[in-house]
């Protein structure tokens, strides 16, 4: 049925070509821009260029085609639309433009000619002139360029060869050359070394970073220990770990040997109800232990909770890295629908094939485990220790998911970045091995982090208005993982990262250990090439796209910085009355147990056990714990949801976002995995791209009209074009959000925003109001009235009604301030 239609649609698709081609021709002739508008990075040179190329736009980009010029450099395949504004040469370099793709993220190059397709390898030769060039990327994008008849054949063939020859970083070392192509030039190094790191997020690199987090969580009774400062205790743990205050470093040192890789239980996070989340590796068996070891260990495990500790075993129920890798490769094969091999799953087998990848099963398992842990933590005053054999894969997933569910801060962009720093980058997730940039260690490859991102997306799609970050942000993180450019992902642990920067000239003396200077705050340390952290988004994304990373209107007020452990306003509801203090339970496969030999060496000698001041393990606490978990089952979901129901009643921001894990509720992240799927566009009609949502356009029009008004009355000193130029930034953002129904947010907005809006000049205030119309009028009104009394009916949206129309001109004067305002949208949202 579909094959029958194929031909007819192909014909139809060609129709607008002619029109567009003629348009594009005249356009180019008229402008004749030098270098066709590509802004090269310092040291970057164009290897090949092809004119009159059209890029196929995805549904997200608005579909249709965009004509322009295609470039291939040592670093990227770049595409410059013909009517894009002339680049500003003084702006900071952006590694990748909106339409560019880095060579390193290309997985496969395929050309489509008349009636055939061909996979192009560095050695292959073309016997026909391609009509289409399709780039399959490792981040699951598929980028399609169409060559016109007007594209010179030589250019077509040359650029295809050039891309095929340069893209593949198959050999070790090609990654380095890729990095050098991007960042290696003197100017680039200089530029990078002068870059400030984002101070709004927590990097978890210094003692003070951790202390800040302890304070944020209201976690008293814990301290930051630098016992691993030289990575002597554990090579994979960060330099600083958080341990109970009452445990001395000397006692601590004895514990490392009892754990796999020395990864002793460490504090990660404190739930507002006072429970602590810990992580640890599995116990090391058959090791000689001293009398005090048990006591030390218990002190670490119980942290500052005297009541009880639940050890959550992660390994058995959750997918192994190998499982994840297999599932992901299946998913990838399924979603990409590779035209070169023409192995595409037929539509009628799509669902079952998707199921058989098990990818959705794995996301469900992770979310379920995290939900269970979140429910346990909600019980208050207990310690939950996540235990995984190596403590470097799914424990990263679960610990960070728990925090995303329970901690609104982790649902903001900056908070999320901090979370990834804490639970992945610093905690020693082996990004380098798992991503396998060099393609030299397939056994270790496993996209554990991508599984985590998918889980976060599932939460986001079920609770979009509870997130300040957006799907675009998740996509940006997803795609960045595939670029071997960022220090965050190019190492397996902090030690490796430090080692790397040492190779690049950081002072390290074997005697004194690491220099205790201004710390890896690498802004001051010259490195070669200095790899930037992934969080420096300005390197990769234009301001316009970065603005899409956050909701234009933030969700419920971020309750930072204090979520202190005494949120226990209603403790009885959650308190475990029937547990005996000091018991350790093992939670595995959905049941609690108190095994005699949880600590493997305990059973060997009962004498030691008696030394412990803890009571014998009893099963008395089990019912209480199970009750906590029952909340997670069917019963509790609506409760979590009703608290969600918007304006009426204050919602408890710490009520975990428990996802619904029913089959129909687990979605496929189509925006990510099906972005490039060609069949998705089979029937799309070519229409012009990037139009903002109509409602947003309406708001923009209001703004335009206001500008005109202001101009008409205030005279020539006002320059509205600045504003109109920047308008689309938020437009596009909102457009995305509307599509997903995340327009409005219940609850009030943060005070910071209020202030910034109120102090802004009126015209721009109006602009803000218009663009963030999701806000309930009740909250918007006070800010307005504090500004000036205004009795008109619709003033909460617009500063002035027609009756006060004369006023804007008086208030419009602070124009320079005004010009910056649209930018503040981004910071406002954070």
């Amino acid at each position: 049925m579909l094959t029958g239609s194929k031909t007819t649609f192909k014909v139809r698709q060609m129709l607008p070509d002619i029109k567009e081609r003629m348009l594009s021709q005249s356009g180019v002739n008229a402008r004749s821009r030098d270098v066709f508008g590509l802004r090269c990075l310092p040291g970057e040179c164009v290897l090949q260029r092809a004119v009159m190329v059209r890029k196929k736009l995805t549904a997200r980009e608005g579909r249709g085609w965009l004509s322009g010029t295609l470039f291939c450099t040592h670093f990227r395949v770049a595409f410059v639309p013909q009517d894009s504004p002339k680049p500003d040469d003084n702006a900071d370099p952006v590694l990748l433009g909106d339409h560019d793709v880095a060579l390193a993220s290309i997985d496969k190059v395929v050309v489509v000619g008349p009636n055939r397709t061909k996979l192009v390898t560095p050695n292959s030769s073309l016997k026909f002139t391609p009509e289409e060039l399709v780039l399959y990327c490792r981040d699951m994008r598929v980028i399609c360029f169409l060559f016109d008849r007007l594209t010179p054949d030589a250019q077509v063939i040359e650029i295809t060869y050039t891309i095929a020859k340069t893209y593949q970083p198959l050999k070790p070392g090609s990654v380095l050359s890729f990095q050098n192509a991007a960042l290696g030039s003197v100017e680039m190094k200089q530029f990078l070394s002068n870059r400030r790191r984002d101070t709004h997020m927590n990097w978890f690199e210094s003692t003070s970073d951790w202390e800040q987090e302890l304070e944020r969580c209201g976690a008293s009774g814990w301290r930051v220990s630098s016992v691993n400062d030289r990575f002597e205790m554990s090579t994979s743990l960060p330099r600083f770990i958080v341990v109970p205050q009452k445990v001395l470093d000397t006692e601590l040192k004895k514990s490392f040997s009892h754990f796999n890789e020395g990864r002793i239980p460490r504090w990660c996070w404190r739930h507002p109800r006072g429970s602590d989340l810990l992580r640890m590796a599995s116990f090391q068996n058959n090791i000689y232990h001293e009398k005090d070891d048990i006591r030390n260990l218990e002190m670490i495990l119980f942290g500052c909770q005297s009541s009880l500790c639940v050890v959550v075993e992660l390994g058995e129920e959750l997918p192994s890295p190998a499982d994840i890798q297999l599932a992901h490769s299946r998913l990838r094969a399924l979603c990409l629908g590779d035209i070169s091999t023409s192995v595409s799953v037929p539509d009628d087998k799509w669902l079952s094939t998707l199921e058989s990848t098990h990818w959705l099963d794995y996301t469900r398992l992770c979310l379920r485990k995290a939900s269970e842990v979140a429910c346990l933590l909600r019980g208050g005053h207990l310690t939950v220790a996540l235990q995984e054999a190596e403590d470097r894969d799914v424990s990263c997933v679960v610990s960070s998911l728990v925090q995303v569910m329970c901690d609104p801060h982790c649902r903001t962009q900056r908070g999320f970045q901090g979370l990834v720093q804490k639970e992945w980058v610093m905690a020693g997730h082996r990004f380098y091995s798992r991503i396998n940039y060099h393609r030299d260690n397939d056994k270790e490859e496993a996209p554990v982090f991508l599984l985590f991102l998918d889980c976060v997306w599932q939460l986001w799609s079920q609770y979009p208005s509870r997130f300040q970050l957006t799907e675009d942000f998740l996509l940006a993180v997803h795609d960045s993982v595939h670029l071997p450019l960022f220090s965050s992902f190019l190492a397996n642990c902090q030690r490796e990262r430090c080692k790397r920067s040492q190779n690049h000239g950081q002072s390290y003396t074997p005697v004194n250990g690491w220099r205790d200077g201004p710390h890896p705050d690498s802004s001051s340390d010259p490195c070669d090439p200095p790899l930037p952290p992934v969080w420096d988004w300005a390197l990769q994304y234009s301001k316009r796209r970065q603005d899409r990373f956050t909701q234009p209107v933030p969700p419920s007020p971020p309750l930072q910085p204090l979520l202190n452990g005494n949120l226990n306003t209603n403790p009885d509801a959650h308190k475990l009355t029937d547990t005996i203090p000091g018991s350790v339970f093992l939670f595995s496969r959905g049941t609690f147990s108190c095994p005699a030999n949880l600590l493997p060496w305990r059973s060997t000698s009962s004498g030691i056990y008696k030394k412990s001041h803890r009571r014998a393990p009893s099963s008395e606490g089990v019912p209480g714990l199970e009750r906590l978990l029952k909340a997670w089952a069917l019963t509790d979901i609506p409760q979590g949801l009703t608290s969600n129901s918007g304006s009426q009643g204050p919602l408890d921001p710490f009520e975990p976002l428990l996802p619904v894990l029913m089959g129909p509720c687990m979605g496929l992240w189509k925006e990510c995995y099906l972005r490039g799927a060609l069949h998705a566009q089979a029937f799309s009609h070519p229409i012009s791209a990037n139009h903002p949502h109509p409602v947003e356009r309406l708001a923009a029009e209001v703004q335009q009209l206001k500008d005109k008004l202001a101009q008409a009355s205030a005279g020539p000193d006002v320059k509205p074009p600045i504003k109109t130029a920047e308008r689309p930034l938020t437009d596009a953002n909102l457009n995305q959000n509307t599509n997903n129904g995340t327009f409005l947010f219940p609850g009030s907005r943060p005070h910071g925003t209020c202030v910034s809006r109120v102090t802004a000049p009126p015209t721009s205030t109006n602009h803000q109001h218009a663009s963030s119309r999701g806000r309930p009028p009740t909250t918007a009104a006070p800010s307005r009235s504090s500004h000036r009394d205004n009795s008109s009916k619709h003033t909460f949206l617009f500063g002035h009604s027609s009756s006060t129309e004369a006023r804007p001109d008086q208030r419009y004067h602070p124009a320079p301030n005004n010009a910056k305002l649209p930018k503040s949208n981004g910071s406002v949202a954070s």
Partner: protein, 652 residues
């Protein structure tokens, strides 16, 4: 096939209003209450099931609509103090019973009281706080079966199979007084009024709404909106008394140069006399969508000069193209198999310049079976680990895909190919209605408004004789009737898929679609009664019942999509790959208490709507202001920024 006889009688008899018998069931059985107490789930459950039903169930909405005009109290039934539901006008209590157990598949057994009226079943729990309430229009009951009986320790259990994707099970103690009828026997009587010689409740329902929904559709003005009559198309009154075709409307649009006498001869060649008539005409290219039934070709390959000439005339009416596409919606095999019943399809030899395309959509029996399987998969429990393959095995989404793909091809031919199309299946009242109406929805933005959609349903479905009475079986106990089929549900599902892909292109929201489907069964309104315009006229449906559109148009704000922008003249081309279709969980899985909308989207949309109105008003104001100013000061500035047409973005 003809079942129309059953409906003929329904309006004629008035039901004798029975006195409610309150103390019907003696209810003191300690053993039973113990058992049900054991099965009792945590009490928190009741609250959520209750609010689930409050949010989703049609019955509550129905009751709220009844209440609304008088009091502002919307959700009366949340109030646990209320012992009884607010009865609708002319709704009378028929029976009540205490101590009934409802076996909720999600939360376990609940004990409470049941009330049966001539419109609904009302169950209210007595052992839960807040009370669990089930309010079910009897129209959704497809079948009532007695389960177990004497064997199970004196309990009598009844299962209610519903048309809206759920099954309910109740039980009560065995009657001591054997003469007394069980309340469920009473229920059977009122659930199937047609089979029991009673009148469907829609004829009693006396609510008056500010809007009159029966005035929504007028054939002449709809044709006029399309520009008919014009130089190529005329309106004929040949079927004024339903003599040409009793399943067609009285007003038909046909090619100008075919006189009425020839129409009769064409009718003789088309199954059930359903000749090709105009459904929609492209305002610019004059390409048309026409619909009909299969030609009576038969095994001998009969031909009809008049029919051939007629199709030629349809083609000639469109100067842009010298071709005509005939979409036979059926699979080729089925179409061929119809030959032995005298039917068949147009041969390309006989019809020059016509190209025949089969769209491979299966018949009503396949669709019924598919939906039955879907119900098995989604109700009550969903097997998470095999969800997708189970869903695939129902083939439901595949059928949806084929229908959408077919409609897309029609729309594409008309819009991009500027070619007229003829659409038919066997009789031209099921699949044909689906495809023409979906294609028109894609082609014409008018049908994407609330009123336009109502017009579309009135026109393509109701007036052209989709046999709602037979397909749904209103008030008919014969649940195994092979004529029942979810053809219309399937269509609404397709519309929902379109709204998912083009969230800003439709004036109505999901709730509108759910409401239509709820009242497809409820028998509260007369809209979906009977099989054809002729029958509806004969039963005086417009006079004796209330239209669903009266209710909907009286509170439009509930059904409006705030994201809507009228993209006039914009054609929607959806992506029909299964990869981009979704199961309509908001309809099929809405009974599952876990399946609640995560976000109070509805409310936020409404707020948004108000905001947008503000904005619009403001724009108008400013626009006036600007024109005033520029007129007064100088002419250098051109008035308002021109609004270019914003393209529709698919949301994949």
């Amino acid at each position: 096939m003809e079942k129309s006889g059953s409906i003929d009688s329904l309006g004629s008899k008035r039901s004798s209003s029975r006195q409610p018998s309150v103390d019907s069931l003696s209810s003191t059985s300690t053993s039973r209450s113990d058992r049900s107490a054991q099965a009792k789930p945590p009490s928190a459950m009741s609250s959520d099931s209750m609010s689930t039903s409050a949010e989703f169930s049609p019955e509550l909405r129905v009751s709220s609509l009844h209440v609304k005009p008088k009091t502002a109290v919307k959700q009366v039934l949340r109030d646990s103090e209320k012992e009884e539901p607010q009865l609708l006008p002319n709704e009378t209590v028929q029976d009540m019973a205490q101590d009934i157990t409802y076996f909720c598949p999600f939360t376990g057994a609940v004990r409470g009281t049941v009330m049966v009226t001539n419109y609904r079943l009302f169950f209210k729990s007595t052992d839960r706080e807040p009370a669990f309430v089930l309010d079910l229009p009897l129209g959704v009951v497809s079948r009532v079966e007695k389960i177990g009986g004497a064997s199970s320790r004196g309990d009598v259990s009844y299962g209610l199979v519903c048309k809206d994707m759920r099954n309910l099970r109740f039980a009560h103690k065995q009657m001591e007084d054997t003469l007394r009828k069980s309340i469920f026997e009473v229920l059977i009587k009122f659930a199937f009024p047609v089979s029991n010689g009673l009148q469907i409740f829609a004829f009693d329902y006396g609510q008056v709404f500010p809007e009159n929904g029966w005035k929504v559709y007028d054939a002449i003005s709809e044709y006029k909106r399309q520009g008919i009559p014009n130089e190529s198309w005329r309106i004929t009154k040949i079927n004024d008394h339903y003599e040409l075709c009793d399943t067609y409307p009285s007003t038909l649009a046909v090619p100008v140069n075919i006189p009425d006498e020839e129409l009769r001869r064409v009718a003789a060649f088309r199954a059930k006399g359903r000749i090709p008539v105009l459904s929609w005409i492209h305002p610019e290219s004059q390409a048309t969508v026409t619909r009909c039934s299969q030609p009576m070709v038969g095994v001998n390959g009969k031909r009809s000069k008049e029919d051939e000439k007629y199709l030629q005339a349809i083609m000639d009416a469109n100067a842009q193209s010298h071709k005509l596409f005939i979409f036979d919606v059926r699979p080729c095999v089925n179409a061929a198999a119809n030959k032995k019943n005298g039917g068949g399809y147009e041969s390309e030899d006989a019809y020059q310049n016509a190209e025949l395309v089969f769209l491979d959509i299966h018949n009503i029996h396949v669709m019924r079976e598919s939906l039955r399987k879907l119900k098995d998969v989604v109700y009550p429990n969903i097997e998470d680990s095999h969800w997708l393959s189970n869903l695939e095995s129902t083939h439901w989404l595949e059928h949806i895909k084929l229908i959408l793909a077919g409609a897309l091809r029609i729309a594409d031919k008309v819009e991009s190919g500027k070619t007229s199309v003829v659409v038919h299946c066997s009789d031209g009242w099921d699949r044909t209605a689906q495809l023409t109406s979906l294609a028109m929805l894609m082609l014409d933005s008018y049908y994407r408004t609330i009123r336009g959609f109502e017009v579309l349903l009135e026109k393509e479905w109701l007036s052209f004789g989709h046999r709602f009475q037979l397909r749904i079986g209103h008030g008919d106990k014969n649940h195994t009737d092979a004529d029942r089929s979810p053809v219309f549900i399937q269509f609404v599902d397709c519309v929902w898929q379109l709204t998912r892909q083009f969230p800003a292109a439709f004036e109505f929201n999901e709730y509108f679609l759910v409401t239509i489907l709820d009242h497809l069964y409820s028998c509260l309104f007369g809209t979906f009664l009977c099989n054809s315009e002729q029958q509806r006229l004969k039963e005086e449906i417009p006079k004796r019942t209330v239209s669903l559109w009266s209710y909907i148009n009286s509170q439009l704000e509930d059904f409006t999509n705030p994201l809507y922008v009228n993209y006039s003249n914009h054609v929607l081309f959806p992506v029909v790959s299964l990869r981009h279709l979704e199961l309509w969980v908001g309809y099929y899985i809405r009974w599952n208490p876990r399946m609640r909308p995560q976000e109070p989207v509805h409310q936020r949309y409404k707020e948004l709507l108000a905001k947008r109105a503000e904005l619009q008003k403001r724009v108008d104001e400013l626009q006036r202001e600007v024109t005033n100013r520029s007129a007064s000061s100088s002419s250098e500035r051109a008035g308002s920024p021109t609004r270019s047409i914003t393209p529709v973005q698919t949301f994949v």
